[in-house]
């Protein structure tokens, strides 16, 4: 089958790839580009495990086609840390052990990044509903929410008691 040429920016670097028109962005990231950090939990937009940021918007990469990435800038979980230095969100999840099996975690980290980019000072309710599209079956969300509220305060330069 003829493949389509796509040129995009992925994690700050320009990327060119060939993909089939029916391939989802998630499958392109995982199978064509080799970035397996984004996960498939449902393939239908219900779980958020595949979350990526496309031009400043939080997107389920299972619901977007690879060819639609043309000209866009995409941030995946692999682009969140700064080399070997964890992003403050990742660092805070580590301190709180806000993950267990870790399968939902890439999506949660990316979604938290998108939240704090848009709203650096969310209320707990806002944080809970922003992340309502990211299903986690392990943690019960308690430690996740506390980590998110705490890192938000840190990133605003506030000290939480």
């Amino acid at each position: 089958m003829a493949k389509t040429y796509v040129s995009a920016t992925i994690n700050g670097e320009s990327a060119e790839f060939l993909c089939e028109t029916q391939q989802t962005l998630l499958d392109v990231l995982r199978d064509v580009i080799g970035l397996t950090g984004s996960k498939e939990g449902c393939g239908s937009g219900d779980c958020g495990a595949c979350s990526v940021i496309v031009d400043d918007r939080l997107v389920c990469s299972c619901l977007m086609l690879g060819v639609e990435a043309e000209g866009k800038s995409i941030t995946t979980i692999e682009g969140i840390a700064n080399g070997d230095t964890l992003h403050p969100i990742q660092q805070k999840f580590l301190e709180y052990a806000a993950l267990q099996c870790g399968f939902c975690t890439p999506g949660l980290i990316v979604a938290t990044k998108a939240l704090l980019d848009e709203n650096p000072n969310p209320t707990e309710t806002e944080a809970r509903y922003w992340l309502a599209g990211n299903l986690c079956r392990c943690t019960g969300y308690d430690k996740v929410i506390r980590a998110v509220m705490d890192v938000a305060a840190d990133m605003r330069g506030e000290k939480v008691a």
């Binding site: 089958m1 089939e20 029916q22 391939q23 995982r30 199978d31 970035l35 397996t36 950090g37 984004s38 996960k39 498939e40 939990g41 449902c42 393939g43 239908s44 219900d46 779980c47 495990a49 995946t76 979980i77 692999e78 969140i80 840390a81 964890l86 990742q90 999840f93 580590l94 301190e95 709180y96 052990a97 993950l99 267990q100 099996c101 870790g102 399968f103 939902c104 975690t105 890439p106 980290i109 309710t125 944080a127 809970r128 509903y129 992340l131 309502a132 599209g133 990211n134 299903l135 986690c136 079956r137 392990c138 943690t139 019960g140 969300y141 308690d142 430690k143 996740v144 929410i145």
Partner: protein, 788 residues
């Protein structure tokens, strides 16, 4: 500082070693591994609940570009033997497990044929071109119909649909009821659940032609069990069959059984001599991964005028789905319901019958809590119903009946032996933590404003860390009671500890390292924990049944002590000091009171790399492989307290306060235990309020996406308060009790009691879970007490 006073790692909030890789997208789950040349499978599944396969027409499936082959049962008939989920239980019928349906299908979602192609897209496209003709057979959809005389049989060879039947009894139940002040009873119904690990099941098998050996990467939590059974099915010795569970994205029991797809990838990798991979999608997961908790429980409790429990009767029907699952069997869930129904209470007289019934639905299997969520739901509801009859506070009702410290060890009415655990203490701790008296005041104030607010308790006990005396599943002929740890210090001084367990979210790479660092006296960062690989130890089963901290931790302790002794002996030679003057801590052996010390690295180097430093007849490798068997299990106990509010307009239930007080013995890492409890409570809240697998009258599954099968989300989960109560340490090695499942055991009952409390003015008792707005509406209208 004296060594004994140095801070131990056990008990500390050590950050998890697993997390850096998982946080950065560098985790390695099965689906992240794709060797060159991999073929991908897609399954055509039955769309009939019970039917004969009359014919299969492949149509143009093979002409889809990339499609390599299509297989049905006849194509692989000679490539394997079926797996038989056998049991020592009398009268039980073991349904054989094959990868693909042979002539007949027994549930919607059962694999019938598989397409192998160069991509999953191609394989799925080919499925659409295949035509299967079925002849429908009659079926009984509901367990209560399937168990009746004359019901259509799912497995003719069994001669019945009730493939498991057992009775329990102690004392004189009839006399107890005759002498009771009153009794309360109801038919309780727990609707079918599905575990929904966020990672779907995934299998990748590779055939190594050179060695005639198979490696299966599986999203399983029982790699050892899978290795052993596939060795029989495929007729391959264990040294040419390796099952690896890399990072596994949650299981909750759902990845703890052998699956048809898992067998098939192994068969086809050998047959086609190419890597074969199958990744489930969510629709397949909801249709075919093991389901759970589908019980009808008729139960009645006799009580005296002071609220003391006199007798309990139970008749349970468990809907086990179409097949008895390997290795646990269909007895696992329903038999545990009756074994655990007497709960943590003093109760002399008990009579119970349980029947496990096959129906045309996905097989049921282990799910977090196994049997005990249902048992606790029924029993804790009865306790509250009795308390209400007596006008007794539910906490006081429990206080009068929970086993007290002097009564341990206590043999329960079903024969379980409870070792001393904080049955009473947890009740008190939950009341204290939640400030129960003030909660009652708040509830009453809210009610005075016309709001529907309720408080509910659930107390339970579970057996964890079960040793070799009894099998985890009734009658199952697999040893689940031992665990081996192989610890070695290599020539560079680094430490490797290998286990048969398979961590899939429990953080065992961290907790086991904490245990070893303390016992061995090494630095925690020098330890690598290996697990999830059948090649690591001669026999290992995996991680399930709240066993790994207890059994893995116990084996780690025993092996670490042996290695420490060898380290100290070597150090004694090198330092020319008596062994009993030496201590090991933080990777250094020293002699207190002197300034002599030597590092583990130097010792390892001397032992392995330097000839003659240690007398040749005294030189020992710094390795040990010890096995731990706790023989009995140990009781983990807890009380949950929930406060809820029902929206008087929508009938939606919101959990406003949640407290768990549990006794899990010595806590290895409080952060990890909290996570286990909170996650399990969330699952229990799902059981109570949201989750229900629905089949329509045609046997079709209605809840086939995560938009239809709802699990808890961040927006609606309450914060969960936890108190760790440590009464006396159990006799397990290290004093650990298992803590993986309890949250799911307590939460459904606590919430059912809280909702019943909120609706008590209308005389409503919750008997069916989940408590959806629709069910509350039905109950209120039936009661004819719809308030204005």
């Amino acid at each position: 500082m004296d060594v004994e006073l140095r801070p131990k790692l056990v008990g500390q909030r050590i950050k998890r070693f697993e997390d850096p890789r998982l946080l950065t997208g560098a985790g390695r789950f099965v689906d992240d591994i794709t060797p060159p040349g991999t073929l991908f499978l897609a399954f055509r599944r039955s769309d009939h609940p019970h039917a004969l396969i009359k014919s299969i027409d492949l149509g143009s499936a093979l002409s889809v570009p990339g499609v390599v082959a299509v297989f049905d049962a006849t194509d692989i008939e000679n490539d394997l033997r079926p797996a038989i989920p056998s049991s020592r239980m009398k009268g039980y019928y073991a349904t054989p497990l094959w990868p693909l349906a042979r002539g007949k299908v027994r549930y919607v979602g059962e694999p019938v044929l598989a397409v192998a192609a160069e991509s999953r897209y191609a394989a799925e496209d080919a499925l659409d071109r295949i035509q299967i003709d079925y002849e429908s057979l009659p079926f009984a959809n509901r367990a209560e119909d399937a168990v009746a005389d004359g019901a259509p049989l799912l497995h003719e060879d069994a001669g019945t649909n009730a493939i498991v039947v057992r009775s329990f009894g102690r004392g004189d139940v009839d006399a107890a009821f005759a002498g009771a002040a009153f009794s309360v009873g109801a038919t309780f119904r727990l609707r079918r659940k599905t575990p929904v690990a966020i990672e779907n099941r995934c299998y990748l098998a590779e055939w190594d032609k050179r060695r005639s050996a198979l490696t299966l990467h599986s999203s399983t939590n029982i790699p050892g069990v899978i290795r052993d059974v596939l060795s029989d099915c495929l007729d391959l010795p264990g040294n040419r069959l390796r099952v690896i569970a890399p990072d596994v994205g949650g299981s909750f029991g759902s990845k703890g059984s052998l699956y048809p797809e898992e067998m098939l990838v192994a068969v086809l990798a050998r047959k086609l001599q190419r890597p074969i991979k199958w990744t489930s999608d969510r629709l397949e997961d909801l249709a075919s991964t093991s389901q759970a908790f589908d019980e009808i429980m008729q139960a009645e409790l006799a009580v005296d005028a002071d609220g003391r429990l006199l007798g309990l009767k139970a008749d349970v029907i468990g809907d086990i789905g179409a097949y008895s699952i390997y290795p646990w069997t269909g007895a696992l869930e329903p038999v545990q319901v009756v074994s655990f129904m007497p709960g943590p209470y003093r109760l002399e007289n008990y009579q119970a019958r349980v029947r496990g019934v096959v129906t045309p639905k996905a097989p049921t299997g282990p799910y977090r809590g196994v049997g005990r969520p249902a048992a606790t739901f029924a029993m804790e509801r009865l306790i509250d119903m009795a308390a209400r009859r007596l006008g007794l506070d539910p906490a006081e009702m429990r206080r009068r009946n929970l086993i007290t410290a002097p009564e341990f060890p206590y043999r329960s009415a079903s024969g379980i032996i409870w070792d001393r655990s904080g049955f009473q203490e947890c009740l008190q701790a939950a009341c204290d933590k939640a400030n129960y008296d003030s909660l009652l005041r708040k509830r009453d104030e809210a009610r005075a404003e016309g709001r529907w607010v309720g408080i509910g308790f659930a107390s339970y006990a579970e057996l964890t860390g079960i040793g070799s005396r009894i099998s985890v599943a009734p009658g199952m002929p697999i040893n689940t009671g031992t665990e081996t740890a192989t610890i070695r210090i290599d020539a560079t001084g680094s430490i490797t500890a290998a286990f048969g367990i398979a961590s899939h979210g429990q953080g065992l790479e961290t907790t086991l390292a904490q245990v070893i660092a303390d016992e061995l006296g090494c630095r925690i960062e020098d330890i690598e924990i290996q697990h999830g690989d059948s090649a690591l130890v001669p026999m290992g089963t995996g991680t399930y049944a709240s066993r790994s901290a207890v059994l893995g931790g116990g084996a780690a302790t025993l092996s670490a002590r042996v290695v420490r002794t060898k380290v100290l002996k070597a150090a004694a030679h090198l330092m020319e000091l008596p062994v009993d003057k030496l201590v090991a801590h933080n990777g250094i052996v020293s002699a207190p009171g002197s300034n002599q010390s030597i590092t583990f690295k130097e010792i390892a180097n001397a032992v392995y790399a330097q000839m003659g430093r240690i007398p040749h007849n005294a030189r020992e490798d710094l390795v040990a492989s010890e096995t731990y068997d706790p023989y009995f299990g140990t009781a983990t106990s807890a009380t949950h307290l929930a406060m809820i509010e029902i929206d008087t307009g929508t009938y939606g239930v919101t959990v406003t306060r949640y407290v768990v007080a549990e006794d899990c013995g010595r806590v290895i890492n409080p952060m990890i235990v909290d996570g286990q409890v909170q996650g399990a409570v969330a699952q229990g809240i799902g059981v109570a309020l949201l989750e229900e697998v629905i089949h329509d009258d045609d046997g079709q599954i209605v809840t086939a996406s995560l938009a239809d099968y709802l699990i808890p989300i961040a927006g609606t989960m309450p914060p969960i308060g936890i108190v760790h109560v440590e009464t006396v340490l159990p006799p397990t090695q290290g004093g650990f009790r298992g803590m993986g499942e309890g949250g799911t055991i307590g939460a459904p009952a606590a919430i059912a009691n809280a909702v019943s409390d909120a609706l008590s003015a209308m005389g409503i008792e919750i008997t069916t879970l989940p408590i959806t707005p629709d069910r509350i509406f039905q109950l209120i209208t039936q009661q004819g007490s719809l308030p204005q």
